[in-house]
């Protein structure tokens, strides 16, 4: 089921590649000892290296290299044991040196692949072209003064990983799925927090359109889109614009554009012909970066279990459907929670409670799994009461709501409210007799062949016993008498 857009001259498909800038989790910057943390006072997380003072020399942060390699391994990509740093030259007020140190000809990570899953269950593989390390720029503020822009260099020099995909993406949905998957992998690895609102993950979106079977046409690059939803919108809006240009007999120019969500349009950002002439050359301050295979192996051994592997293990180990497994591995904390609940218990029942009632409750209360009002142990405790038949499924729902509200353990709630399931056959038999006596007409109908009424009798008995009767015993007692 492929995604296409209808134009006046026929059907168009879209071709998308993404360049994701992911801020590396580290204490200090890529080439200086200034803090890389977010939210400091303006221009305090800045060293003279970051501010581009004469004579200052960059010294590479070892941990940032490790983070890039971990990410490469997580993308099942080739690690280049030798890579280099180049200068990308351009002038902008928040780039004090006049060049960004980046990796152009020899990136640290080569080809890899990311598996995505679409809502209809289709699985696709999106190729990764490369991942390289580079410096972030500072921040310009244009709204502080009528004639001046204010510059804060706190972010200047913070390590970024630029992750470039192949033009393998064919729909806005695939772009969204790719970004979510990438963010999930980065978070599992602990190499980037993936927080798009704070700008620690940003995407440049390359879009072109073509008729089926054609080679690629000219693409446009939409810069710095800062949410997954916007990326999906921008692709659709830009593709629609390009189709109009082609169908009006025009040519799409290769250019950089900006997505304006408030107007739902893209517009040309830098029409300057020189915009892409960065005059890259090897940075003479930095020798080639050589890493040992033994170190790469060491980093690989220490990697956490990745989402795809975890999902496959959950399916096998816990016997749960693929969809549930995918939902449960969305975040590491959810997966850990689930495993704690499922340990030594009915794993499918555990999955149902976590993905159903628990997620519902978290949604309602606006909480995340980390500050869930019901801990994994507490939920497990409730499942134990179900397993040993202290409570039935219906009462469990009531206990769950109470746990949510009071934070008490399931056992305490059952005790306090007297919810213990009645397994006393005498009491159940009495309730059954009573219900049948009061519904003599229905008993006649049932015996006359109206089997469906059995459920009615069960309901009535349960009601008479305030929901606490063991359903299996009730069924049995009813069958016996009827």
């Amino acid at each position: 089921m492929s995604y296409t857009l209808e134009g006046r001259t026929g059907t168009w498909e879209i071709v998308v590649g993404l360049e994701v800038h992911a801020q590396v989790i580290s204490h200090s910057k890529l080439f200086s000892g200034a803090s890389a943390s977010y939210g400091g006072e303006p221009n305090t997380h800045v060293s003279l290296v970051d501010a581009g003072f004469p004579g200052m020399l960059p010294v590479l942060n070892h941990e940032c290299v490790a983070q890039a390699i971990r990410t490469g391994l997580g993308l099942r990509a080739r690690i280049n044991l030798e890579s280099r740093f180049d200068r990308k030259n351009y002038f902008y007020a928040d780039l004090p040196t006049g060049y960004q140190i980046s990796q152009f000809t020899h990136p640290i990570v080569g080809e890899g692949t990311v598996e995505i899953e679409l809502s209809d269950g289709t699985v696709r593989h999106i190729g990764i072209t490369r991942l390289h390390m580079e410096q972030d720029a500072g921040k310009s503020m244009h709204d502080q003064d009528p004639t001046r822009s204010f510059i804060d260099l706190n972010r200047a020099g913070v390590a970024l990983m630029e992750i470039v995909s192949e033009p393998d993406i064919r729909s806005p949905e695939e772009a969204g799925a790719y970004l979510r998957k990438l963010r999930q992998i980065l978070r599992y690895l602990g190499t980037c927090d993936g927080n798009m609102e704070e700008g620690s993950m940003r995407a440049d979106v390359n879009v072109s359109v073509r008729k089926a079977g054609e080679p690629f046409r000219t693409r446009c690059e939409i810069k710095n889109v800062n949410s997954i939803r916007y990326v999906m919108h921008a692709i659709e809006v830009e593709a629609t614009r390009q189709i109009e240009v082609w169908e009006d007999g025009g040519e799409v120019d290769q250019e950089t554009r900006l997505f304006d969500p408030s107007r739902n349009e893209t517009r040309s950002l830098r029409s300057k012909e020189d915009a892409h002439d960065y005059r890259y050359f090897p940075d003479p301050d930095l020798l080639p970066l050589v890493v040992e295979q033994t170190w790469v192996d060491e980093l690989e051994r220490a990697l956490p279990e990745l989402p795809d592997d975890k999902r496959d293990r959950f399916i096998k180990q816990y016997g749960i459907p693929r969809y549930d497994a995918s939902v449960l591995v969305a975040e590491q904390a959810i997966a850990d929670y689930y495993e704690e609940v499922a340990k030594g218990r009915d794993s499918r029942l555990a999955a149902n409670w976590v993905t159903g009632d628990l997620f519902g409750a978290l949604n309602r209360t606006g909480r995340s799994i980390q500050d869930s009002p019901i801990s994994a142990q507490a939920l497990g405790g409730m499942l134990d009461l179900m397993a040993d038949k202290t409570i039935n499924g219906k009462i469990a729902k009531e206990v769950f709501e109470d746990m949510l509200e009071t934070g008490d353990s399931a056992a305490d709630i059952v005790e306090r409210k007297g919810l213990k399931q009645v397994t006393d056959t005498g009491a159940i038999d009495a309730a059954v007799a009573d219900v049948l006596a009061r519904n003599a007409d229905k008993v006649e109908e049932y015996r006359g062949g109206k089997d469906r009424l059995f459920g009615f009798f069960v309901g009535q008995v349960m009601k008479a016993m305030a929901g606490k009767a063991n359903p299996a015993i009730v069924n049995e007692a009813l069958k016996k008498v009827l």
Partner: protein, 95 residues
């Protein structure tokens, strides 16, 4: 390889160097001289030779990921011609 006047003008613009039209011929001659000098290297046959990046086989040095610098805003802003409070300022750049 030789540079024409248009290329010289373009290089100057990329480097944000303002040059006079009358300086172009002289600059063109100088740049072509430099290029010609460097091009002598093409006479050396380096087929199959691994690029040498230094004489000492030195490896790139790295540092530990600890915060050792920063928090020196006064020094950072000391040369700024028009600082306002904690910020550098520049003539407004809006695209």
């Amino acid at each position: 390889m030789s540079l024409d006047p248009a290329t010289v003008r373009r290089i100057a613009r990329l480097a944000r160097i303002g040059i006079d039209e009358s300086d172009l011929p002289a600059l063109q001659g100088e740049l072509n001289g430099i290029l010609g000098w460097v091009e002598q290297l093409n006479e050396v046959d380096v087929e199959g030779v691994t690029p040498m990046v230094g004489t000492g086989h030195a490896a790139l040095r790295t540092r530990d990921d600890v915060v050792t610098d920063g928090n020196c805003r006064d020094a950072v802003l000391s040369n700024a011609p028009d600082a306002v409070g904690p910020f550098y300022t520049v003539p407004k750049v809006v695209e």
